[in-house]
C-alpha cells in the first residue's frame, strides 16, 4: 500500500477546508467500496455523495511523486474532497480489495507515456526533419540573442537613470523626500519596469515606503532602513553596470549564474538552472522552519522555508512568491513535517543560504537516522562561525540574516537576555531579527527541559545595530527524535 502522510495530503489540498472535508468523509465512513491494483499503483473508492448516485474517485500512482486524481463528482476543486478522502483512507490503512486496473485508466496512462516519449526523442527524426529542427533552433537562438542584447542595453539605460535619481536624492538629502516628491519617485519607480529593472524598482519602492512611514510616525528607524536600502541600491547599480557592460563588450549575452541577474529582477527557469549546471541530484532535505512574509514593496506574499540537506547540514531556502493580484491563482504553501527526497534540485546563484527549487520531490517522514545525520553536521565552533557570519552579513548585497545549524551545550537566561553556550564555552545572545516574528518568548514555555541542553539549534545570525552585536534568533530545535519549531 502507498505510504501516505497527513502532510502530503495537506500539501496537495487546494486549501485547508478541502482537507478538513476530506477527513470528515473518511472519518464518517463515506466510502462504500475501496479497491486497489495488485501492484499498488492504482486506488479506487466509491463514495456516497449528497445525491442518489455515488461518486467514483481514483488515485493513479503510476508516477510515484506525481499522483493523478480523478473523480466523477461535479466539483471544480482539484483535488476534490473525495480524492482527499481517499488519501485519508490510505493514511488510515483501511482494507482495499484487489482489483484490475480499469481499461480507461490504462489508456490514459499509455497516452501520457506516448506524449512524454515524443517530447524527449529526437532520434527518430529523418535527416530533413533534423536539419529543419536545427535551423529553427538556430534562428530562434539568433533572435533571442538580439533580444537579449537589446534588453541589456535598456537595462544599462535604466541603471543610468537610477544612478541619477540616487545622486539627486543624496544631493538634496533624504529629509527632502516627502509629500509631492514621493509621488514623483513613485512615478520614477514605475518607469524602471520599462527598463527591465524590477530589482532596483523594488528597492526604490521600499525606500519610498520607509519615507512615507517616517512621515506618519516620525520614527528614526525608517531613516536607518532607508540608508540600508540606498546602500544596497547603490552597490547594485555600480556592480550591475560593470557586469552588464562587460557582457556587452565581450558579447557574452547568454544567461549566466551571476547573482546580479536575479538582483536586477531576472527570473530563472528550472531548466535554465539545470543547463547552467546548478543542480544537485538525489538530495534529501528536511524542512526545519516555515513562515510567510509580506513585502509591500513587492506587493507579494512570500512563503519561506528553511531546509537542511541531510548529507551536508547546509541550510537552503525555498521561496514561493504570491503576488497580491494573483492570490487566487497561486496556492499558499504550508509547513512540511518531513524530508523531501528530490531527484533533481536546482540551486540558485548566491552566497549564504542559497535558494533551491525542485519540480517534484518524494515526501517522507523524518526518521531518527535523518535527525542524527543532521545533528552530526551542526557547527560547534561558534566563534569562528560568528566571524564568518559577520563577514557575509557586512556585504550590502547579501541578505541581512544567515541561517545555520548550531550545536549547543545549553540555552538559558543571562542579565542581558536569553543566550546560548556551546560545548567549548562560546556564547551568543539570542534575539529576534528585524522583520522576523518573535521566537525568544516561546523559548521559555517549551514543554521539556531537555530541549535546553545538548541539542542543535537552527538559528538566524543577524547584526543588532542598536546593541552593536551579532545575535542569533532561535528558529527550531533539532533533538534526537523531533524537530521543535519555534516558528511554524
Amino acid at each position: 500500500m502507498q505510504q501516505i502522510t497527513e502532510q502530503q495530503i495537506l500539501s496537495l489540498a487546494p486549501n485547508p477546508a478541502a482537507a478538513a472535508n476530506g477527513r470528515k468523509i473518511s472519518q464518517k465512513g463515506g466510502f462504500v467500496r475501496l479497491e486497489r491494483s495488485a501492484d499498488d499503483t492504482f486506488y479506487l473508492g466509491e463514495c456516497t455523495g449528497s445525491g442518489k448516485s455515488n461518486y467514483i474517485t481514483t488515485a493513479d500512482y503510476i508516477v510515484q511523486d506525481a499522483p493523478v486524481f480523478r473523480c466523477s463528482c461535479p466539483s471544480r476543486q482539484f483535488p476534490c474532497k473525495h480524492s482527499l478522502a481517499l488519501m485519508y483512507e490510505l493514511l488510515a490503512q483501511k482494507n482495499f480489495a484487489i482489483c484490475e486496473i480499469p481499461e480507461d485508466i490504462l489508456k490514459k496512462r499509455e497516452k501520457k507515456q506516448a506524449k512524454a516519449t515524443k517530447e524527449q526523442s529526437t532520434e527518430n527524426l529523418s535527416p530533413e526533419e533534423a536539419e529543419k529542427a536545427e535551423k529553427k533552433k538556430a534562428a530562434s537562438k539568433k533572435a533571442s540573442k538580439a533580444a537579449r542584447t537589446k534588453k541589456l542595453k535598456k537595462q544599462l539605460e535604466g541603471l543610468d537613470m537610477t544612478e541619477k535619481l540616487v545622486k539627486e536624492l543624496m544631493r538634496a538629502g533624504l529629509g527632502t523626500m516627502g509629500g509631492t516628491s514621493l509621488d514623483n519617485y513613485r512615478q520614477l519607480a514605475k518607469q524602471l519596469g520599462d527598463y527591465y529593472l524590477p530589482g532596483p524598482q523594488r528597492l526604490l519602492n521600499g525606500l519610498i515606503l520607509e519615507i512615507a512611514a517616517f512621515q506618519k510616525d516620525g520614527l528614526e528607524d525608517h531613516y536607518e532602513q532607508s540608508i540600508d536600502i540606498l546602500e544596497k541600491l547603490w552597490t547594485l547599480v555600480k556592480k550591475s553596470r560593470q557586469y552588464l557592460t562587460e557582457k556587452l563588450e565581450k558579447d557574452e549575452i547568454d544567461l549566466d549564474d551571476n547573482l546580479l541577474y536575479e538582483e536586477l529582477g531576472g527570473i530563472y527557469k528550472l531548466s535554465e538552472l539545470e543547463e547552467l549546471g546548478r543542480c544537485k541530484k538525489d538530495a534529501s532535505f528536511a524542512q526545519l522552519a516555515f513562515w510567510v512574509d509580506y513585502s509591500e514593496a513587492r506587493k507579494e506574499y512570500i512563503d519561506t522555508a528553511c531546509w537542511a540537506e541531510l548529507k551536508t547540514g547546509e541550510v537552503f531556502m525555498t521561496y514561493n512568491y504570491r503576488p497580491v493580484k494573483a492570490l487566487k491563482f497561486v496556492k499558499q504553501e504550508d509547513s512540511i513535517f518531513g524530508v523531501a527526497d528530490a531527484a533533481m534540485t536546482a540551486c540558485y546563484p548566491g552566497e549564504g543560504n542559497v535558494r533551491i527549487r525542485w519540480e517534484s520531490a518524494q515526501m517522507r517522514p523524518v526518521s531518527e537516522e535523518d535527525l542524527a545525520q543532521l545533528r552530526s553536521h551542526a557547527i560547534s565552533a561558534l566563534a569562528a562561525e560568528a566571524k564568518a557570519a559577520k563577514n557575509l552579513l557586512k556585504n550590502a548585497m547579501t541578505d541581512t540574516i544567515l541561517y545555520r545549524l548550531i550545536a549547543y551545550k545549553e540555552i538559558g537566561n543571562t542579565e542581558q537576555g536569553p543566550a546560548l553556550r556551546t560545548e567549548n564555552g562560546d556564547t551568543i545572545l539570542l534575539g529576534n531579527a528585524p522583520g522576523m516574528e518573535v521566537t525568544t518568548g516561546r523559548l521559555s514555555v517549551l514543554p521539556d527541559e531537555a530541549l535546553y541542553q545538548d541539542q542543535v539549534l537552527l538559528g538566524a545570525f543577524y547584526y543588532d545595530k542598536g546593541e552593536r552585536r551579532l545575535k542569533l534568533q532561535p528558529l527550531s530545535i533539532i533533538t534526537k527524535t523531533d524537530i521543535v519549531r519555534l516558528l511554524y
Partner: protein, 635 residues
Amino acid sequence: MDITPIYELRIRLKTAIIAGTSLLAEDFRLKRAVEAIQPLLTASPVFAKIGQLVQALLAPGQEGKEGLLLDAISLVDAVICTQGVVAVSGEIEPIRAGCYGTAVTNAPYSLVKTLIEALTSAGNGRYSYVIETHKNQPHLFDDYRIKTTMVEALDASYADLANQVAEWLVEDGENVIPLLKGGFDPKGKRGMVRRVEVLDGVAGAKENDFYLEQLAVAEKEVRQALIYALRHDPNNIDRLLEMIKTEKGSSKKAAYYALAQQEDSRVSEFFWKLMKKKPEDAITYIELSETDWASEITAKGMMDLLRPWTSDVEGKRLTKMQAEMVKLYWKALPFKHGESIAECYRMAASIGSRLSKPLEGENEVWKLQIGDSRGNKLTFRRVMPRVLDRAIYLHPTKELCDLAVELYENVKNTKEEGDYFIPVFTAKLLTEENCSEWLKEQMEKGTILGEKRRHSIVKYLEEGLRTLQWDNKEKAHILYRWMVNPVDGRNHTIVRKIKQKMSGEFIEILMTLDSYQIDDTLSNCIAPEDTKYHDILLEYFYRRALTVSENRNYCYILKRLGGTKFEGLAVHYFRNRNLVDRWEVSWYVDQMPGSAAEKAAEIEKVFDMIKSKKLKGRNITEDWMEQYLDSVRYQ
C-alpha cells in the same frame, strides 16, 4: 582598539545623507568626526580607505560627493558589522520548563498562525473561528505557541473572546500561572483584570502573596479583582475588615464580597449586624456565599419577610422595598444549603399564589423576569421552583434533590405542578443514569388533567433540555447555563455533565413529544462516533419534516447532520402555503438537503403544482421557473 570614533562618524554620515551633500561644506560636526578617526587610519587598510573617502567628501570642489557619501557609509557599516560583539558576559541561568502544560503539536503554519491571528487581532469571524477550532481541535491550544497567545488574548478587544479564553485558561489549571504572572501590570486594563480572575480561579489561596504584593500598587478594576481574590485565604479576614473601612467604590464592594465568603464567627457577626442595619446590602454581599452563617441569615431574612403570607391576608400587598428584597433573596438562595433553607423553600411553596398580586400602590400584578428561558415575566409562585432548580444545578446534593421531589409531590394536580417539575427533572438529569421510567410515569399516569398535563410537561421538558448538547472536549452530554457574577457583572458559563444516558428509552420518549425545540436539542446531542443514533435520528427528523407544516428548520437540521433524504420535503412545505414567493423558493432550496440535481427535481414538482394551479405563486412566471431550475441544477 577603541573604535568609538567610527561609530560617531557613522552618525555624522547618516545626518549628511538626511541633510544632503549640498550642505556638507557647513557640516562642522562631520569635520570633527573625520579628525577624530585620524589615529585609526594606520590601524588597517579598511580604515585608511574610510579616511580617504571622508576626506574626499569634505574636499572643496570634489566631484561625485553623492556617490562618495554612499560608498563611505557602506564601508563604515561593513566595518561596524565585523566589529560586532558576540560573546555574552555573566552566568547562564537554566530555564525552568515543562511547567506550563504546553506540548509540541507539530501543527502547521496554516493552523497555528491563523489561530494566533484570530486570538490577537480584531475582525469579523475571528471569534467563531476560535470557538470552532477549540471544539474540533482542542489539542492545538496546548501548543506552546498558542498558550502564550492565549494570555495575550485576555486583552482582546472583543470581550466575548477574551472571556472565553479566560474560561479555557482556568480549565488548564495551575500550569498557566507563570504565564499569567509574567509581565503582569497592576495598573493595567481589562487584560490584567482577566489575568487576576484566571489566577483566582486556578490558584485561589496559593497565590495570596502575589495578590497582596500587587495590591500595594494596583488601581481600579485590577485592584477590585485582587481584593476579591483575597477571599480564599482566611488569614485575610482582618485585612478585608479594614479594607471595608478604607476602600471606596467598587473596591470596597469587592472587599465585602470577599469577606462574605469566609466561614468565620467574626465575619458572621459582622454580617448579622449589617443585616439588622442594612438588610439589602447584607443580602447583596452574601449572594455568592456558601457558608453556614450566610445560609442562616438568608433563610431567616426571607422567612421573616414571607411569614405574613403563609396565611390569607386580605388586602395586604408587598411594598416595593419588600419586593426588591425578595429579588435579592432569589439571587442568594441557589448558593445556600441546610435545613433552614429547605424550610424557606417549603414556606415559599406553601404561599402559592398569595404573592401573585399587585405591589402596594400599583395596578399591575407583580411579575419578575428571572427564571423563564423565553424571557417571560413570572409571578412569585413560578419563580421559586426555578430558584430551587438553579440551586440543584449548582449543587445537586441529595438534600436538595429530595426536597425537589417532596415539593413536586405536594403540588401534584395543581397549577404549580409543571413549574415544580423543572427542578426534579434537573435533579434526575444530573444524578440518575436512567430516569425514563419516572418520566413515562409523569406523562402517562391518568389524572384529571390528562392531555393538558402531558402538554404542560412537554413545555417544561423543553425548558429543562434547552441547553443540552454533546461536548466533544468533555466527551459527554452537558448542560450549560449563564449566571451573572455580581462582583464583575459578567455572565459566566457554568457547565454540568449529565448522568442521564442519552440513549435507549429516554431518547425514544423524547422522539414522541412532537416538539421542535426538543428535536433541535436532540440534533445537538449526537456524539460523532455514535453512528447508530445518528442514523436513527436522521430518519426521525426526515419523518418529522414530512409531518410538520413548517419544516424548514428540519431541513436545516438534516443538512447539518449530513442527511441525504429529500423526497417530498419541498412539496410538503409549499403545499401548506397560501402564496409562494420567489424568495421563499430560493430560501427553501438553500436549506434543503440533496444534490443540485435532486433539489431541482424536488422544486420542479412544486412548480408543477403552481402551473396546475394547485398552488398560488407570486411573480413566479414560467420563464422564471425555467431559469431558476437551471441555476439550481448547474450550481
